[in-house]
Each structure stands twice: as structure tokens, then as C-alpha cells.
């Protein structure tokens, strides 16, 4: 099989700097891991003795749980730092927290943080592998990898695919990681949303940018909705949810403009009836729940690739 057999660095900080070979290595490995999720007999202790710690400075259900599960299915010990009850509350700086965990022999730190670049800061200061589980408005690489895996499973490749990513682009680390990964793999990405939530600067990622949802969806193979981050902005960038869903939401009528059988995706949690209408979320084209399962597989693959001495 061609391509890489290991990742080049000790960390996974984003998709921006991963090669096509490295992404495909993770996806192939994840495909093999997936079989082990349902079949308890296939779970093996190949990472036994390795310790993984999650440091979540922001809330999470799916991402944190699936990292913990991925670690356990491979025999690693997975511990959550419990940021809310840790020395972080005494004002301990991130670099300091990392150095302390390093001294305890932690092999991998999985971090989610509200500020861009926090995982990079941690990675500079520790020997352990650092995995970015979402930093500010920057990247969420494991989410994008599970999205890529889902697309690969359903559509068999990326070259020439047209992917529409819709919604709050400017605050979305999911949109950015997906754009980096998809474009690297040969897909064509269109980012769309209201002008106050998607800026022309995003063309720097290699994506098309538009404020016209229909234009973005037209002829696309994948329609990806993003969560409107109601909790983030004090002064919202659009008047209200009613106007948002009527002008920028995806419903069955809009989805008809996509290719027949186009995939509907969403990183969750979904605001039902806002970015996607209920019939679209629950419809036959939706792969939203498959995404979640693939999340565990992708994270198992990453743990193995970063922690196992043999690589893949």
C-alpha cells in the first residue's frame, strides 16, 4: 500500500499541516478500528500501560467521551483532568499544567481550549503527544477527520467532490479543519453564510466564499451544516433565529438543489429547525449519527498512530 505508515510529528494540532498521505493513513487505520467498536472480542490491550489525559477547558459531550472510549478500547488508561476542579481554578497557567502532567509520565494530552493556539503552546512545553480537540475558532482536527471518514465511506473518494459548508463560518473550527482537509484531498469547498459570519478572507484557505446558500448547495455532493453559536456572541451577527432559518437554513426544498443522494452532515449538537430543518436532519440523506460512531474509530486510530511504537 502506498503512502505514509506514521505521522511525522508527535502531536496532532490541526489538519492545516497534514499531508494527503498522513490523512489517508489515519482514515485507513480508522476503517480497521471501526470493526472493534461493535465487537467487544476484537478490543485489544495494545496500548496498555499508556496514559491519556483529557484537558477540556470548554464543554463537550461527544468529543471527550469518544476520546475516553477510544483510549479504553485500546487498553490505555484514560483520565479526565476535570479542569473545573483542578489548579486551573487557582490560576495555574496552561504551560505549567502541562509540565506537571509531563512529570507524571502522561503519554498524551488531549486538549480543548477556548483560545486559538493553546494546543500549540502546550505542545511546545511538553514531551507528551498533544492532540487538539478544538481550539478557539481555529481547528478541530478530529471532528474533520471523522467527517472525512464518513465521506470516504459513503462516496469512496474526494477528488472533484463539491462540498458546501454552511452557517457560522467565522467562529467555526469545524469548518476550517474540514476546509483544510477536504481541499488537501482534492475536493472543492464552498463556505456560505450571512456576510457577518463568513468573510472573504476565508478564500485564503483555498475555498470559495458566498453569502448565497442556494449557490453553495447547487450540485454539491455534501451539505454540511454548522451549529449557530448562540452562546458565543453577546451581539449576534444576525437579527434572530427566525430570519436566520428562513434565509440561511437548509430545508428539503434547498436540499433538492444538491446532487441526488448528497450527504447531509452536521458536527452536532444541532439546533433543530435553525441550521437544518427537522426533516433534513432525520431524512435518508443524513449521516449525522454515523459521524458520531466514526468519531470513536478515528480517535482510536490516532491514539494508536501517536502512541504505539510500531506505527501502523
Amino acid at each position: 500500500m502506498p503512502g505514509a505508515t506514521r505521522l511525522s510529528g508527535k502531536d496532532l494540532l490541526g489538519l492545516k499541516n497534514l499531508t494527503e498521505d498522513e490523512i489517508m493513513l489515519i482514515l485507513r487505520s480508522a476503517a480497521r478500528m471501526k470493526a472493534r467498536i461493535d465487537d467487544t472480542g476484537k478490543r485489544s490491550p495494545e496500548l496498555s500501560g499508556k496514559s491519556v489525559v483529557t484537558l477540556f477547558y470548554e464543554n463537550s459531550t461527544r468529543t471527550k467521551m469518544s476520546f475516553m472510549m477510544a483510549g479504553k478500547y485500546l487498553g490505555a488508561s484514560a483520565t479526565d483532568l476535570g479542569v473545573a476542579t483542578s489548579s486551573v481554578n487557582k490560576g495555574e497557567r496552561l504551560a505549567e499544567t502541562g509540565i506537571n502532567l509531563d512529570q507524571m509520565g502522561v503519554n498524551m494530552m488531549i486538549i480543548r481550549h477556548q483560545t486559538t493556539g493553546a494546543p500549540h503552546l502546550l505542545a511546545r512545553n511538553v514531551r507528551a503527544s498533544v492532540v487538539n480537540a478544538g481550539d478557539g475558532a481555529n481547528e478541530h482536527p478530529t471532528q474533520a477527520l471523522l467527517d472525512l471518514m464518513t465521506i470516504y465511506e459513503r462516496l469512496g473518494g474526494f477528488d472533484g467532490l463539491k462540498v458546501a459548508i454552511l452557517g457560522d463560518i467565522s467562529h467555526s473550527r469545524v469548518a476550517r479543519s474540514n476546509a483544510f482537509g477536504l481541499i488537501r484531498l482534492g475536493a472543492k469547498v464552498t463556505l456560505a453564510g450571512p456576510a457577518t459570519l463568513v468573510s472573504g478572507s476565508f478564500r485564503a484557505l483555498g475555498a470559495d466564499v458566498t453569502t448565497n446558500i442556494l449557490e453553495a448547495v447547487e450540485g454539491s455532493d455534501v451539505v454540511m451544516g454548522l451549529r449557530i453559536q448562540l452562546e458565543r456572541d453577546k451581539a449576534p451577527n444576525f437579527p434572530n433565529l427566525r430570519e436566520y432559518s428562513s434565509l440561511f437554513g437548509v430545508n428539503a426544498r434547498i436540499l433538492k438543489h444538491a446532487k441526488k443522494g448528497a450527504l447531509v452532515m452536521h458536527p452536532g449538537p444541532v439546533n433543530r429547525g435553525v441550521e437544518l430543518s427537522a426533516d433534513v436532519i432525520d431524512g435518508s440523506q443524513s449521516v449525522i449519527y454515523q459521524q458520531v460512531k466514526n468519531g470513536v474509530a478515528v480517535r482510536m486510530a490516532l491514539l494508536k498512530l501517536l502512541l504505539s511504537e510500531e506505527g501502523d
Partner: protein, 432 residues
Amino acid sequence: MASILIKGGRVIDPANYIDGGRDLLIRDGIVGEVGENLSEDGADRVVDASGLIVVPGLIDLHVHFRQPGHEHKETIETGSRAAAMGGYTTVCAMPNTNPAVDNEVVVEYVKLMAARAGLCNVLPIGAATAGQKGERLSDIGSMARAGIVAVSEDGKSVAGSALLKTAMKYASQFGLPMFSHCEDADLAGSGQMNAGARAALLGLNGIPNDSEEVIVARDIILANATGCRLHVCHISTEGAVWQLRSAKSRQYAVTGEAAPHHFTLTDEDVPGDYDANFKMNPPLRSAADRAAVIRGLADGTIDCIATDHAPHHYDEKNVEFANAPNGVVGLETAFALAYTGLALTNALSPLTLIEKMSLNPARILGINRGALSRGLPADVSIFDTREEYAIDPALFASKARNTPFAGRRVRGRLKYTILGGKVVVDNGVIRD
């Protein structure tokens, strides 16, 4: 006090339109004579300046010396050492200390600490509002009597236009200029670097040019309305340069400064590892903005180069980019960056460069320095511009190391700094 003859150097003195081989005689702390082949007879010391450039001591309108209150970052003594090692003989210290420089007691304290260090003239700038809180005027008149040279809210703008207008009107009766940091905090929002393609790639929130430009426009209008002289700090955008040019064309009493990082780097230089040594306010802007700042310096729109020397402890910069404080140190790299980036590229003549780093700042302050004219205090700096070297933060005299220029190759190494006839840096070594 002894006499010093500086022999064989290339004297660059814009006040007297000199750029050429001259000797310089310093007698009793003042400039005695500038001429060709001056006699060594009677000189207590002869400094061989052959191959070196001899300029009036550099003057910086914008430094942060952090004392009182933030002595872990810098003190007036360590800041003065950094100034001396950068060829600066006069610097203006911004008031955002703790307590802020908002009354004459703190002004006197700054002056006392500077006198104790004795390495550099440190001229205090007073805050515009009490505690820099933007609520009521500081003791501007008492501070004027104690010796402040300007009023500034640096680090931010006075948000309320009416209060700013009052401060300008009040300051102008004491002949004090307003040094404005121009930033609309609302428009800057949670931005951490220049808005644009690089911010989009790095996933950092952008600080748009308009956040600077609307306040430049407001402050120009209010300064003109009140008769207050306005000095626009650290100009970083094309639109701000345009505003200043337009105001000058209408004969408004406005001046402006640019910082070495803004005419040297762009937002494309902000590295992918989120090194907070590239975080400052205003941020590194686009290539077009950088070019506009250089054009502004060249055509006289921007009067001077000021460092915005902003020392921070390394612990404070070794944090998440969003949580790191703004600012970079500048005193010990400014001349070399300006000489390499502006003079060697022919953007500015050496004469104009020195004008921007010494004569013009003196004029803005209304002080009789920045020139090698007979009878003036002998503030002189001597640089070796022949040899290229790499900037090494480990060698800084400042307490701080927060520079984006580590390893950058430049020309213009300081050899001597003479402050009022006293050699404070002697062949590259500080004497105290």
C-alpha cells in the same frame, strides 16, 4: 568635565544639513565644534570613529519603562540601560504604570529613578485621565509643572469623545501635546492580530484597520477644534497615513510616529506556532499597510520613528496567544532595523533617517536637542554600519526578551552613546 574629540567619523546631523566626514569636539558636556581635521591638542580623550557614523543622540517618543508597579518586566534603570545600548539619549516614558502617572508625585518618582540610573534622559508623559480610567481628568496642570512633556492615554484611546476634547483643551493651555493611541475598542473587539488572510489561516480573530482609522480621524478633528497639538502614536494602516497626510495638507498641528516592527514586518510574519512575541497593538498589518507607512515616512507625513518599547516577562508571553499581553521590546533593535530596512534600501536617506530618530522627536517635544549644534548638550551616538550581525535577545540590556526579531540579520551596531558629554556606552560596553 573633560573634553572628548570624536575623530574621523561620518557625521550625520540633519539640523545642520551635514552628512560627511567631520570631527566632533565635546567640551564640558556640550557640543564645542564640528569640523574637518580638528586638532587633538588639549583633548582629554580621542575616540577613533573612522568607519563609523556619528549622529545626534537618538530620541524616542514612546517607551514603557513599567516602573512603578511592573518592575518584573522592566525598571527605569534597566530601561535606561536598554536605551543607552540602543543609542538613545532621551526617551519619553508612557504613563500606564501602577499607579499610573496621573499626578505630580508619580512624575517626580519617575524623574528621581531616571536621575539615579543616570544613563538616559527620561521624560515622563502624563495620563490624560485619572488612573487611565477614562472617567475624569488627571492632574494635568500639576504634572505640567512637575515636568511632563505630553499627555497620553497610551495603551488605549480615551473612549468618550467629550472627555477627550476636554483633556485636549485643558492640556493645550500648558502647551502640552496629546499623544494618541488610536483604537476603537468596540471595532477591535476580541481581535488578536490584523484582520485578513493570515488571521483566517491561523484562526485568530482579526483587528480591522478601521478600528485604528476612525479614532485617528476623530482625534484629528478634536485636536483641531481645541487647538491642541496632536501626535498620533504607532501609525500602522494605510488609512491612518492618509488621514495624517490630509490633516497636514490643511496645516493642522499634527504629527505622527511609526514603530520599527510596523515598517519591518507584516501579518504574514505571524508564525503558525502562535508565538506571542508577534503580538502587539496595533498589530502587524498587511504588506500594503507596511508599504504605506514607509511611504509616509519618506514623504514626511510620518515625522518620526518611535519604538513603543513594551517589555514583558517571558512567563507572560508563554501563554495562549489571546491571553498574552501586547507589545515587543524595541530600544536595542530600532536603529539597526531602521538603518537596514529604510536606509540601506534607499527608502530614506541616512540624513532623513536620523531626522526621524532624533531631530523631529526633539521638535515635537520642543526641546533643544537632536542636533550637533555648538552649545547644545553633547548627546551623541556612534554606530558601526559596516558589519552585518544577527539580533540576539540574550544580549539585551533590557530585562525583557520579547522581540519578534531574534536571529534577524541587520546592520547598525551601537559603539558609543554619549549623554551630555558623559560616555555611557563605551565601545559597546555600558559604563555605570
